[in-house]
């Protein structure tokens, strides 16, 4: 299989990349290519031109000085192996280790995952739970988009066609914060049939001050499980409060069913994986 014809551009600056996107309305950015190229081979996508970001300066790297900043072209392998992230935000390298397989991790990028908004992607949920935002650069300069506003629907984001996602920002965790991501892997692809990311902060009185729980795989876009979050706030993080949160995880969410897993089955998995994510988040509090 091979894709339709397209023109290939390899800019060296973000401004140049934006320029090419503006001149070619149905051009697409090429990052790791591990969502885009398979879609093009199946002729589900047929962009007239690709704008390869691999030679654009300044789009990779991880900084953990206070808040965490990750360049859009940083690969899963770089996230997985980052000692700084293992210390500052262990949920990120852990999640990267479980994306697809080592070859996907070698080339797939964090920016690509968030810009693609696959309903079964892992990092969409993790970005929501970590309260991340992205920087997008377009013809009129740059803007910051919170993850909550980035994901619009199935494979749809609020990025404009001529915008390049350049950075991911994650605020520093405050106080005692535990975090974990748990997924039920699709046995063939590794994508999340259901994935749950939980980030929980506990105050000095030992009760939950803030809980952010986000779901992927089960919904048309990564979504916060607000009922489960509310079930935890103000309670001590215990087996009881975790069970109560898991029991309401699917409340208010519209769950997908497909040939692999029905909506009922996903509702069941959502409870189980919410519990597991919270248990591990609690254990990681130390």
């Amino acid at each position: 299989m091979f894709p339709n014809q397209f023109d290939y551009h390899r800019p060296t600056t973000v401004a140049e990349a934006v320029g090419v996107l503006q001149q070619n309305p149905d051009a697409k950015v090429l990052a790791g290519g591990h969502s885009l190229l398979p879609a093009m081979k199946l002729r589900l996508a047929a962009p007239s031109a690709l704008v390869d970001l691999s030679k654009v300066e300044g789009l990779t790297g991880i900084s953990t000085n206070g808040s965490v900043v990750i360049g859009a072209m940083t690969t899963y392998a770089e996230l997985r192996d980052s000692a700084a992230l293992k210390a500052a935000l262990p949920i990120v390298p852990e999640t990267a280790y479980h994306v697809g397989d080592p070859q996907v991790q070698a080339v797939g990028t964090l920016g690509g995952s968030l810009a693609h908004a696959d309903p079964s992607a892992d990092f969409t949920a993790v970005a929501l739970a970590l309260d991340a935002s992205v920087k997008a650069v377009g013809a009129d300069g740059d803007r910051t988009i919170p993850a909550e506003e980035l994901f619009v629907d199935l494979f749809t984001t609020s990025l404009a066609p001529d915008e390049v996602l350049t950075e991911i920002h994650i605020p520093a965790a405050t106080g005692r914060t535990g975090m974990a991501y748990e997924k039920f892997r699709h046995p063939a692809s590794g994508y999340a049939v259901v994935g749950v990311a939980a980030v929980v902060s506990v105050g000095v009185d030992g009760t939950v001050a803030q809980a952010r729980i986000a779901v992927t795989g089960a919904t048309s876009k990564a979504t916060r499980a607000t009922a489960a979050e509310q079930a935890l706030v103000g309670k001590p993080l215990s087996a009881d409060s975790i069970a109560a949160a898991a029991a309401v995880a699917n409340q208010g969410l519209e769950l997908n069913g497909d040939h692999y897993a029905s909506a009922e089955y996903r509702a069941h998995l959502l409870g189980v994986y919410t519990r597991r994510a919270l248990e591990r988040a609690a254990a990681s509090l130390g």
């Binding site: 299989m1 390869d52 080592p102 070859q103 996907v104």
Partner: protein, 194 residues
Amino acid sequence: MATAVPMATRIPVRISVNGTEYAAEVEPRLLLVHFLRDNLGLTGTHVGCDTSQCGACVVYLDGKSVKSCTVLTVQADGGEVQTIEGLAKDGVYDPVQQGFWEMHGLQCGYCTPGMIMSAHSLLQRTPNPSEEEIRHALEGNLCRCTGYQNIVKAIQYAANQMSGAGVSGNGSGAGTHNPQDVGDWKGELAGEST
């Protein structure tokens, strides 16, 4: 539609494959696996699924293990590719190849080049992997014949050779396999089911 699509501009590329520089002008849509197989005749790299799942097409690109059915040739411009053909040195197998030979790590052999390349990459990062680490490293490689048991053993054999023989992690100068080592090592496997 067919008549309206103009030929995309061909792009000049320079790619080093197994240490030899190649210059070519390619269509942007030419996949790396086809460049290797059809343009260079290096048919050791296989196409299995063509949908990024099976790993039969795994090669190194700039030291990273990648699925060459999901990489454009133009993305490899200026880069270094190593394929299964580049592993043996002076007719001596790399320890991973030797491991597949010794431990019967293949049946039909279709998945084998990709398996060996993925295993090679694992052993670069993790010279003494646990069985779980080996199986995790093979997530992207499918085998329809062996049931994986002997593939895992082949990789354990290679890890053992590379550390036991004091061979450096990059596999160069490796393949100094001597049959007595196999006997010793099989002893350690005693009790494991096959």
